[in-house]
């Protein structure tokens, strides 16, 4: 297959464009010139007609920019983890949502919230840890259920993922029904509405996403070799068990942090790596960083759509990704039956 040239510049440009569109759009439209003036005034101290500490500046720096950065990080985490899970399970349909990791993380986070961790920075750091515990349990249960010998067949993976995911979601719902008031907030959050605002969720999610993504980026070559199966990977010098654990743990940390701050958002980890793989091939040394960039782009764009389609009301971003992702999932499923091209 002929491959389009220069993936990194293309994605970098898309990312900047998505970022600009995302901070411009919303209930108050910020024009490109206003955007430019406010940023110039804020950063360069250039005197401008628009005061950066005025309404526009506040909307930009206190609301839209942190939200955009948060979604960018979350998109990178979900999509990078998706690519890693796909390489790990040698399965094009592995997505943090579909294999139950996200729902496990959601359950962990809700449990943490119900035992009243305060919404302080410490609390914000603790919720991802609880989400991580839930997510790790979910992924381990799913792999154990789905595993046949040394491989994880697609149908098993998806079925086990659906079962574990439903179970975790059911318990999450039970917990939420039995709580009142403040946990209404959790409800919105679980639908992927990113109810949190300001810079504190960005700072909360940042260390986990950076750590997870950085570690995942070191695994590209190992994942390439592992596409030939565990046995050949070992014979080529890959410590398969160690790499598998490292990949599961790092991908799960990144996913859990993402879920802990913006809730369960499905299909990003499926759609993005898939399109990138079709365009630029399956080399994980390239696919992992590209997926992280692409995940950021997709989530920024879907969130912009979620905020503008029926403005001033917001649609939870998880609904938009599901509307796009579910048909895509079915298409991939059909395709992977007829040809195993990846």
């Amino acid at each position: 297959m002929k491959r389009a040239a220069r993936p990194f510049p293309i994605l970098a440009i898309l990312l900047v464009l998505a970022l600009v569109v995302s901070v411009m759009a919303g209930s108050v439209f910020i024009s490109p010139s206003a955007l430019w003036q406010v940023i110039a005034a804020k950063i360069g101290g250039v005197p401008a007609a628009i005061d950066p500490s005025g309404v526009i500046g506040t909307i930009l720096f206190k609301l839209r920019l942190p939200r955009a950065i948060l979604l960018l990080l979350v998109g990178a985490a979900l999509s990078g983890s998706g690519a890693a899970y796909q390489g790990l399970f040698r399965n094009p349909l592995a997505d943090p949502f579909l294999i139950g990791v996200s729902s496990g993380a959601g359950l962990g986070a809700v449990v943490a919230m119900t035992i009243h961790w305060p919404y302080t920075t410490m609390g914000l750091m603790a919720i991802p840890l609880a989400a991580f515990a839930g997510a790790l349990i979910a992924v381990l249960v799913v792999t154990q259920l789905a595993r046949v010998g040394n491989s994880v067949p697609t149908t098993n993976l998806i079925l086990a993922g659906v079962a574990v995911s439903s179970f975790a979601s059911a318990i999450t719902s039970l917990i939420m029904i039995n709580t009142t008031g403040e946990l209404r907030r959790a409800m919105v959050w679980l639908l992927g509405g990113s109810a949190l605002s300001g810079w504190s969720p960005v700072l909360g999610v940042l260390p986990y996403v950076l750590l997870g993504c950085a570690l995942l980026l070191t695994l590209g070559h190992s994942l390439n070799v592992m596409q030939f199966g565990d046995e050949q990977a070992q014979q080529l010098g890959i410590p398969v068990r160690r790499v598998r654990w490292l990949a599961i743990i790092t991908a799960t940390i990144a996913t859990a942090a993402a879920v802990a701050f913006v809730g369960v958002i499905g299909f990003v980890g499926l759609v993005v790596p898939h399109i990138l793989r079709m365009l630029w091939g399956g080399d994980y040394r390239r696919l992992l960083p590209l997926s992280m960039l692409g995940g950021g782009v997709l989530l920024l764009l879907t969130d912009t759509a979620a905020r503008t389609i029926i403005a001033p009301q917001e649609i939870p971003v998880g609904i938009i990704t599901a509307l796009l992702g579910a048909p895509f999932f079915l298409w991939v499923l059909r395709r992977s039956k007829s040809q195993n091209y990846w």
Partner: protein
């Protein structure tokens, strides 16, 4: 040099190999023959250090392979597996480059030398013209050559090949076996030949490249020696449980093995 001493191995308490002892010197090709299910593939897996042993020892150049980490092991022993499913998204060059895995740093970066060795492996296996093609575009014989090239890029003293000619037509069978022979017996005498173990089914073909033959029946070595010593009517008929007729061909000096109906 590959040394196996009193090796017993299997899966879940079931012994597949029992009390195997063999030695393959540098510069020699040993053909491993035996009926289906006799344990040839398990022996190759055990020799590459990925099967837990029940007893005995596998040593490569004096190192006990089961005590080594994957990376060190892969610098000493390479394996050419049977072509089953190859991830088609890779190009030929990408697959051959994976042979450098045991020499890469933790970021998986290739040095100039790594890339040179990859090109050399491609050239040795006549794959340069196909280097940028996708694996899915290749024939079975070409894919087999790619896996051979990948093992060459590993630069190991010991190579283990599992039925490298099983899906190939006669021309490719001879072609591959000829290359394997030259790897153990380099034209340039300054290069050390490799120690090579090849599992094969074709008893006629093996005489063209093998220095020695090991016959494996139900997990035990029942005969070992030069092709002339092992390929006899009595030994083979007993091992394969069918009456065979052996004809010494005057033109090639080789023995043709035919079933006697």
């Amino acid at each position: 040099m590959l040394t196996i001493e009193h090796l017993t191995a299997g899966y879940n308490d079931k012994k597949i190999l029992e009390d195997i002892t063999l030695l393959i010197d540098d510069g020699s090709v040993v053909a491993l023959i035996g009926p289906n299910g006799s344990g040839k593939t398990t022996l190759i897996r055990a020799a590459s250090g990925i099967v837990p042993l029940m007893s005995g020892e596998v040593k490569v150049n004096g190192h006990v392979v089961n005590h080594l980490g994957e990376q060190e092991r892969a610098r000493l022993v390479s394996v050419v597996p049977q072509v089953r499913s190859i991830p088609p998204a890779f190009t030929v060059r990408e697959v051959v480059a994976l042979g450098r895995t045991p020499y890469l740093n933790w970021l998986g970066q290739f040095s100039i030398k790594d890339n040179e060795i990859v090109e050399e492996a491609l050239q040795q296996t006549d794959l340069l013209d196909l280097a940028d093609r996708s694996m899915s575009d290749l024939s079975g014989g070409e894919q087999q050559r790619v896996l051979l090239a990948r093992a060459l890029a590993q630069e190991t003293g010991v190579m283990l090949l599992d039925e490298p000619t099983s899906h190939l037509d006669l021309q490719f069978q001879v072609n591959i076996m000829d290359r394997i022979h030259r790897l153990a017996h380099p034209v340039n005498k300054e290069n050390t030949g490799r120690a090579i173990l090849v599992a094969v089914h074709d008893l006629n073909l093996l005489q063209m490249f093998a220095d020695r033959v090991i016959l494996l029946v139900k997990g035990k070595i029942t005969a070992t020696g030069t092709p002339e010593e092992v390929l006899t009517e009595a030994i083979l008929s007993d091992a394969y449980r069918i009456p065979l007729h052996l004809i010494k061909d005057s033109l090639t000096g080789k023995t043709a093995i035919l079933p006697r109906n």
